[in-house]
Structure formats: structure tokens, C-alpha cells
């Protein structure tokens, strides 16, 4: 089976691409504006020039805390010591605005931190869609979705399971913009239970009610993770592509119950287990069962090795394979591909795999935003992409027919 083939000519794949991006007081940018078309975008420049900041800005156009998982107050532009104390203290308002091309239509979207002088007020993210204030980040999720791969994720298979759970949840959010609701509801209920147990609560009815919430939301989260990982598995398993086939499995007690019984029965089972483990969980100071204990297991399909045992290059290749499968799944489920943010993507990839990755991105009609320190890494893209040079927070378009560009590669 050939994976990542161009979309079937009979299936009209929609388009999702940014055509304009404005940054205001964002990280190192005072103000920046990029006019682009739907082709992939390559941002090159020295370290610390502000390339990843552009990717982070794009990531804020989808629900969530962006690719750095930053607090809103950390994102505003920081001034140097020459500015007055009043300018340096407190979170600064910032904004990211964009025009999104959605098939034949365009929509103006924007998000940012609301300017406020009241220090007691909570930081609040504002969402604007065609000039109207959106109710929640989910409104953005109905319009856009973004997947990303950053150098920090290179250790995804080596570090703790919580990073992998967040990774899966982020992939799900691209398919189901409301997935954040059950995840945070489960987390809220679990923290409530832990607190009640810690305080020695003996009110069984109260614990029952909190555990009932955990059971309902926990099973909903586990079921969605299971369903999504199964779908990803179908798309990521083939061995004949440039990136290794990956065996994916969501592993956990709830997941195994869901394999054996209906969701309603699994809810009852989870409820009973929570009730039975109150005493031991009180001693443990934590909840010992639930979707917060599940893990995403990844194996290299061909050699059967656990992803964590593979070489650094193979781990990166497996991760790219999963991300591309997720992009393909989103295209299939939502009718249009997500935005793809690939930070320092060329690292760990040989020339053959780099070229293959670019071919896949172009065949899936994905607007990928890629960064690198060296133009030559993106040579294989040629005129299929648009190139920008970033230096000290200044963004300039490079013409691919420009002599200097070819000299540089």
C-alpha cells in the first residue's frame, strides 16, 4: 500500500491556508506582516532571529496554548533595559491576526491578550472572527487547526507518559475542537477527589458524585484517544514509504476495558474501581487509575523495536510519520488539511527523507511553515514553496529566482 499518495482526484480536498499574518507586540516582534500564498513557507535565518516566534504565532490561531505551551502574559514583547520600569513590568497585550483562505472564501481571524490596567483581573485571551468577538477558543478550532513538530518533541518517546498523552490530545483537538472540554473536566474532578481524600472526607455521597464525574469524562477521554490512535495506526502502519511504519497503541486500564465492554459498562467499572481504591489512593496522595495514567506506545513496525530504543534519526522519522498520518486523518475527517508547523525540521533528516517530506507536504496540499538556519536544506522545494529570510526580527521575502538565493544553496 502506498501511503501519503496525492488525494484521490474524485475527492475534492478543501484548502486551508493563511494568506496574511500580522504580529503585534509578539515575542521579539514589535510589528510584523507577512503576505503569503497557499504554498509551503520556509523561514530561514540565524539562531535567535525570531523564526520559531512566527511559528508560535501561527499556532495561536488554533485552540490551545501554542507550540511553546506559554502563559499568555509571557508572550508579549519584552523591552530592553533602556525602557522605563513601567514599560517592563506586567504582562503586555499582544495580538496575532491573519487572513485565512478556506476554499474560495476568506475569513479574518485574530487572537491575543486583552489589554488591561487592572492587575487583579485574570489574563484573558480574546478571539476575533471577521471582526466579531468569539466566545471561546473552540470557535477558532472550527475554522483552523494546526499540527507541529519542534526540536523539544525529539524526546517525546524518551520522557514521561504525560508528554505523550498531551501529544495525543493535541492531535485529537485538530479533529474534535471540543476535546479540551472533557479533558479539563476530568482533570478538575480528579483534583477535587484528591483534595477530598487528602482532607479525610468521609462523606461517601460527596465522593460518589465526584467519582461519577471522573467516570463519565474519563471514559469519554479514553474512548476518543482509543478511536483516534486506531485511525492513526491505519494510516501510519505501511512500511514502504520514506518514513518508517509505526505501530501505535493507547495502553491503560480504561483502554483495555473499552476493548472488552461497552462505554457505559466501562464507566460503571471505573466508578467501582475508584470507590474501591479510596483508601489506597488516600495513602498514595493521588488517583491511581484513570486516563491520566494511560500511555501512547509506539513501535518501529519493521524491526519491532520500541520507539525509545530507536536511533535519534529514526525517532524523528517515526514522529514525522505520526504527524503526517494525523494531517492525513484531519484531511479525511474535516475535508481540509491542517496548518503544519515544522521547527528546525531538517535536523536529523538526510537529503532523501527531506525531499520525500517536501513531496508529501505538497501532494497533501498542506500549507507547512518550516524553519531552518540554512536555505540549502530546502533546495528540493524550489518554486513549490515561498522563502523568507528572518534576521533580528525583520522578515524579508526571498525570490527563488534571485541569484543570491541560488548562490546560497
Amino acid at each position: 500500500m502506498v501511503m501519503f499518495e496525492a488525494p484521490d482526484a474524485n475527492i475534492q480536498t478543501g484548502l486551508m491556508a493563511l494568506t496574511r499574518l500580522n504580529l503585534t507586540n509578539f515575542r521579539c516582534y514589535d510589528f510584523a506582516r507577512l503576505e503569503v500564498d497557499s504554498r509551503p513557507i520556509v523561514l530561514t535565518g540565524p539562531n535567535g532571529a525570531g523564526k520559531t516566534n512566527v511559528l508560535e504565532a501561527v499556532s495561536f490561531l488554533a485552540p490551545g496554548r501554542g507550540l511553546r505551551a506559554a502563559r499568555l502574559g509571557e508572550v508579549g514583547r519584552r523591552y530592553g533595559a533602556q525602557h522605563s520600569a513601567s514599560e517592563t513590568c506586567g504582562p503586555r497585550a499582544w495580538a496575532v491576526a491573519a487572513q485565512l483562505a478556506w476554499d474560495d472564501a476568506t475569513v479574518d481571524i485574530g487572537t491575543g491578550l486583552e489589554p488591561t490596567t487592572d492587575e487583579t483581573r485574570r489574563e484573558r485571551r480574546i478571539i476575533k472572527i471577521d471582526g466579531e468577538t468569539g466566545k471561546s477558543q473552540k470557535d477558532l478550532g472550527l475554522l483552523t487547526s494546526a499540527l507541529w513538530l519542534t526540536p523539544q518533541m525529539d524526546r517525546l518517546f524518551l520522557e514521561g507518559a504525560s508528554g505523550r498523552r498531551r501529544f495525543v490530545d493535541r492531535l485529537i483537538l485538530g479533529l474534535h475542537p471540543d476535546h479540551g472540554g472533557p479533558v479539563s473536566a476530568y482533570d478538575h474532578s480528579m483534583r477535587s477527589r484528591n483534595k477530598l481524600l487528602k482532607e479525610g472526607c468521609r462523606d461517601g455521597d460527596w465522593l460518589d458524585s465526584v467519582e461519577d464525574s471522573m467516570a463519565r469524562y474519563g471514559i469519554a477521554v479514553a474512548a476518543r484517544r482509543l478511536e483516534t490512535v486506531d485511525s492513526l495506526q491505519e494510516l501510519a502502519a505501511g512500511d514502504d514509504g520514506p518514513f518508517p511504519g509505526a505501530e501505535l497503541e493507547m495502553q491503560g486500564r480504561l483502554e483495555s476495558w473499552l476493548d472488552d465492554m461497552s462505554a457505559l459498562d466501562a464507566e460503571d467499572r471505573f466508578r467501582e474501581a475508584l470507590s474501591a481504591q479510596r483508601k489506597s489512593d488516600r495513602g498514595l496522595g493521588a488517583t491511581s487509575i484513570g486516563p491520566h495514567r494511560s500511555d501512547l506506545l509506539v513501535h518501529h513496525r519493521k524491526n519491532g523495536e520500541k520507539a525509545s530504543q530507536c536511533s535519534t534519526g529514526e525517532q524523528k522519522a517515526l514522529l514525522i510519520r505520526i504527524i503526517l498520518a494525523a494531517a492525513q486523518l484531519q484531511t479525511r475527517e474535516r475535508g481540509r488539511p491542517p496548518l503544519l508547523l515544522l521547527d528546525e525540521i531538517a535536523a536529523h533528516l538526510d537529503a532523501k527523507r527531506r525531499a520525500a517530506l517536501f513531496d508529501i507536504i505538497c501532494s497533501l496540499r498542506i500549507q507547512a511553515w518550516m524553519t531552518g538556519t540554512d536555505n540549502s536544506m530546502f533546495q528540493a522545494l524550489g518554486e513549490r514553496a515561498q522563502f523568507f529570510d528572518i534576521s533580528a526580527a525583520r522578515i524579508e521575502k526571498i525570490s527563488v529566482t534571485h541569484k543570491a538565493f541560488y548562490n546560497s544553496i
Binding site: T117, D118, R121, K138, H176, D178, G181, A185, H188, S189, R191, S192, R193, K195, L196, E199, C201, D203, D205, W206, D208, S209, V210, D212, S213, Y217
Partner: protein, 197 residues
Amino acid sequence: MATGDIDLLIQLMSKLPGLGPRSARRAALHLIKNREQLLKPLATAMASASQSVKQCSACGNLDTVDPCVICTDARRDSSIICVVEEVADLWALERTAVFKGRYHILGGVLSPLDGIGPEDLSIGGLLNRAGRDAISEVILATSATVDGKATAHYITDRLSECNVTVTALAHGIPVGGELDYLDDGTLSAALRERRKS
């Protein structure tokens, strides 16, 4: 800028819900400019409310009489109690003019993370009413939040010993709502709770 009484007025007004320091200054200035038409009548009304408004010992509603007019209204069905979180929720339901039973105000929802437990709410009072009065139905009208739902679940458990039917408000499509714009949770709740038309 301002001193003494004006400053105090602004400070106090900025503590009101929905008002920040800037809007409190504007509101205070507006009151002072309209001393006869607004400031004095408001001060009188506030002094009077502070004297006369009390909490209904039966349901927790706010009124100038105890028990409140809803609890003593003989035209209302005393066998049905609607449980709400706050007085504002009672007012919202009263605006619909649909519900003709009585109320019980919890005073919030159970929230372990905020340190709010059953003893901080008027759940004991509700159980007394359900056990003592001739109550046939208790309608739970708590919010559809995690804590609101957990509170409803808790009350249902506690009421299981009383001989009452416990119901909850339906979740579904808002009047005038378009299906395409609804979230999956609301739509699936609406489907689950569909009824014969």
C-alpha cells in the same frame, strides 16, 4: 485626584461585579452629577434594603418578608421544589413565568477545590423539606458545569431516602438555535433527550 467621600464612593463601587476602577469612577461621577435624581434616591433605597431585606428561612430566597412571597403564595404548587444555585437563578426562572412551584436556593455548588462542602450549602434544609413537607418532585436546576453536575448527583444520592421523584432540567437546542452552530455535547444531549412531537 479625588479625596475623602468621593474616593471612598469610587473604591466601594469598584468592588461591585462588572465594575473596574475606570467604570467605577464614571459611575460615581454620574451619581454625583445627578445628586437629586439618582444619588439621594439610591442612597435611600440602599439604606432601606439593608434594613428590610432578609433571607427566607424556608427556601433561602431574598425578600422583605420571611417566609418570602413565593413560599407563602397559596396559588403555587407546594409539592414541587426547584433547586437552584443562587437567587439570580430563581429570578431567571421566574422571568419565564412557566414554573409555578416553589424553590430552594443552595447558595452555590459543591467545589472541593474551593473548599465548599455540603455543610456550606443549604442541602440539609432541602432534605428536611423533602422529608417533612408533602413534596412529590424535586427539580434540580444546577448549572451544566462539572461542579454543578456533581452537586446534582450528590443531591440525588441524598434524596434517595426521601420518597420524592428527582428530575433535572433538560439540556438541548436553545430556542432559535441553528443545529450547525451547536457543539457536539449539546447536540448529543438533545438527541438523547428527544421527545415525541
